[in-house]
Symmetry: C3
Subunit: 139 residues, 3 copies
């Protein structure tokens, strides 16, 4: 078994889901590892990760809308408000979704289901540069 | 260190928690790996994974009821409705729970706590055949 | 590649976030593994794990308050009440957050972002002794 690591930098364009499947799969394919385990780790607490259906873009719109209803951007609810009304809700949305994903690699490719895509979930309104750490171990 | 992979196919019987601890533990025991890390990955976006108390079956009923209250099956809330009123709620419930679990293996067995069981969480009303990818690395 | 495991026992002091970054990082540093993957696994279903901002303590207060609003400690909502009014809500809060975290190790250190801390999230009101299994694989 061997391993490899890589930093994937992604510029988001505001609140919502940004698909990164292609970038992640391309790096995995370059490593020449047939069977293994990929970890994607998000180095931020106001953006996170999720695996969602990649067929109908409405799924992404509905998911974002659900989180906006569930975690109100209402400063009267929070003490931590100095970084803006969307910052504490971003931390909560991060806790409810995933900071890391582990995905088996089989036949040199991610063993994702047919309709699964990997998404960086931006929780802030403004564009941000986000860093994902990719770790692959296998042989 | 060596590794092994396996596909576990599970037929669910409608919305709710389906315990898979026995099937997962049996496959781990067959691999002859004393110390390692098991990953369970769910290849679907309308079913997911969770670790819950396995002592009182009421816990499973209460958990299912909580998610039904939190994520309404009300088509007026969603754009993505063509696959049925339970499909978009299923994707949201998937985002709130786990698509993958990583569990240490120690002494050849899953290092679960006394009351922990591994559950496949079906979010659709109808029975489905679900595929879990098991990955074990260790020595 | 080699691997190591360790049990980290933590006494919590009631509901809320308890930072364990220092204890986890210290164990990782002792293993002499430059590049690898750390898994933290919580052996309980009424406490869980999360990575959150470690700069402003108000974030922890707001996160706890959000979960208290979202998952009511109201026995009329649950069947599973015999272990106290905070037990079933604890299981639900566990399902919504993380039972395990996987964090890449780079240069012998956890590849956490600048503001990320690892927290044990206690969901019961009383103090508990909690067991975290640490697994590190790398080389």
């Amino acid at each position: 078994m061997t391993q490899a690591q890589h930093i994937l930098s992604i510029r988001t364009r505001g609140q919502g889901l940004h698909e990164v499947t292609r970038e992640v799969a391309a790096w995995v394919a370059e490593q020449g590892i047939g069977t293994g385990l990929l970890t994607v780790f998000c180095q931020h607490t106001s953006a996170s990760l999720t695996i969602q259906e990649n067929a109908d873009p409405d799924v992404q719109v509905d998911l974002e809308a659900f989180f906006r209803r569930l975690v109100k951007e209402d400063p009267s609810l929070y003490r931590h408000t100095m970084e803006g009304p969307d910052d504490m809700p971003a931390h909560i949305r991060g806790a409810l979704t995933d900071v890391s994903l582990t995905i088996p690699v089989s036949g040199g490719r991610l063993a994702l289901g047919t309709w699964q895509g990997i998404y960086l979930f931006e929780h802030r309104h403004r564009s941000h540069m986000r860093r994902l750490v990719l770790h692959l171990a296998g042989g």
